[in-house]
Symmetry: C3
Subunit: 257 residues, 3 copies
């Protein structure tokens, strides 16, 4: 029988340290992501201090992935070009010890994507960021089983929801931050996955990196909501908040158990 998962402590402090590291080191995060999300994802990474690259070309993607500090693979546009690019980039990332993150967008609506996502799971992602329906399609079990599934699959699961759940290696964090307007801006989840990759670029403990990334974007969302008039101004304000976020705001707002 497995022991119950242990909670993570000091996550606000960890998140504050990681955002400082992002700004100091400017890691490059290579993203294979969908058409809709590319621009906002790039701007989220830039606002947080990282540098995006997004090429998909089969001639180039290996070199871009090999030199990156992290890789994010998002299945939101599921075409032959991106599937091939994902295979190449992940192989190179593994060879060069570049951590990579899987975001299996909408696999609950497409058996083909779900099958591809299950194949990618055999290639050892450091973390998988997804929502409850996507988790169910990937794991074949309810979101409540995420901690056990993460342990069994030797990865970190970052499950977005009203309360985010981040689990892996017998540890668990629940993050009760965020704001409802985050669901009214397209690509917010895709951008969160890219931020998980950025944090993995500067923090070897994948569980703390993933939890910090979700905490950072959730708290940026709360800050943004204080001045936003709706989803349009919110999308701009969350970039501003990411750019300005500091340890004090993280400590004051974090609701992690």
């Amino acid at each position: 029988m497995q022991a119950p998962a242990t909670a993570l402590d000091d996550m606000a402090h960890t998140a504050g340290a990681l955002i400082e590291r992002l700004r100091a080191r400017s890691p490059r995060v290579h993203c294979i992501t969908n058409n809709v999300a590319q621009n906002f994802t790039a701007n989220v990474l830039l606002a947080a201090g990282a540098v995006p690259s997004m090429t998909l070309s089969p001639d180039e993607v290996a070199a871009f992935a090999a030199g990156a500090q992290a890789l994010m693979v998002n299945l939101g546009t599921f075409d032959a070009e991106r599937s091939a690019a994902a295979e190449i980039a992940i192989a190179v990332a593994r060879e060069h010890k570049v951590p990579w993150v899987l975001d299996p967008v909408f696999i609950d609506r497409s058996p083909q994507r779900a099958a591809f996502a299950r194949h990618l799971m055999t290639l050892a992602p450091a973390a998988v960021r997804l929502n409850g329906a996507e988790f169910a399609a990937l794991a074949g079990s309810a979101p409540e089983t995420a901690a056990a599934w993460a342990r069994d699959n030797k990865t970190v699961v970052a499950l977005s929801g009203e309360t985010d759940l981040v689990a892996g290696g017998g540890r668990l964090a629940r993050i009760a931050n965020g704001h409802a307007l985050m669901a009214r801006v397209t690509a917010m989840g895709c951008a969160a996955s890219a931020l998980v990759a950025a944090c993995l670029a500067v923090e070897p403990d994948a569980l703390r990196a993933a939890a910090a990334a979700l905490l950072i974007i959730d708290i940026a969302g709360e800050v943004a909501a204080e001045t936003a008039q709706g989803p349009g101004s919110f999308a701009a304000a969350i970039l501003d908040a990411l750019y300005r976020l500091d340890a004090a705001a993280l400590a004051a707002r974090a609701k992690v158990t």
Copy 2:
């Protein structure tokens, strides 16, 4: 001889009811649209209460269209992938009684697109949203003939211009709302077409749905222009205005004859 078109009454009331229905039902609108417009279109749908999906993959698009509540096909990026996706999605939509909208972008500049748009017209779109130059290329006649052409083609024409004209089935609405800054933000027309599709998802009378959609986005544009400093803040503010729009604002501002 055909009778003159009858005016639509109570459009502000209809628009108010439809925006409530969008928020209550969150219909999914599948969009086959151009690269430039994808992000803004998704954000317009989310701000109005609908849910966007945008896959183009030949393996997936049938399932996405079959389960959607409306379909929008925009020809702004005219490539083999999107043409094939449009054919598949429209066939499935017709089979599942999912209403679909055509937006024949720039067919006045491309004979190939115009020919494809004329082919798509044989597949019974519930509505066609376009500008005057595009109408002329599609119909081979001046915008003044839109009401007759809509009747002859058993569709609804939603013709954007300084005054929008929405016509079909012997009825006609002229909408004198909107703001000049709408022409200074890319993809505004494409997003309007997606909103027409969203309204068709919650209103079976295609003429009222199309007229309500244009009235909603035009009035959101007027509200946005009151605080915008230029096209950048306007693009955010129109999303905010869509998100906050209520029956009172629609009633106070609507100029429909």
Copy 3:
């Protein structure tokens, strides 16, 4: 031995005249550009008074380029479709005397792109806009050699950096305007290249056109930074500033030597 480059005078005045011409003439600028940059580039052109078009289709791109007032080719998404579109569009542009601009994005990270960029240099771009690393990859020499390289290659080099350098035909301008937030918004350089093309559409002196374009976007960035809270509000504010920019603001802020 070559004579030293001469400085450009009255650049604030030239920039003010060009922005007036853009608003009066609304030239169409055809852009073959990357996925990430398409939306923001279109909005920058619209804010400045120009009209964007972005089709890549091999059946259509010749007609779009032939009828445009300028062409911009950006290598940020380097795929077969865009490479083919670039070849077609550039050939047609040269035939119709449409000036064209090259933006060789990330050629310092990809030998394939660098080779393609060197090939495109044989097709007589009116201007090349790039950063220091990209210049070094293209020219095989340090940015300090830009003036000589531009002269030798019978083009204009617009080199973005903390101080921008614009050189060609034995003349040289250094622009010390701009703001650090410009590097925190994706596609800012790509959009600057499109603005260079727009200015070429209304000004036959390529050196003055390129210098004016960089001066315009740099000063719009300074104006935007005065109210922005971070990169999200900055991206909107720079569009607003472009839309509102006038000769007085240009004259008051220009730092050109």
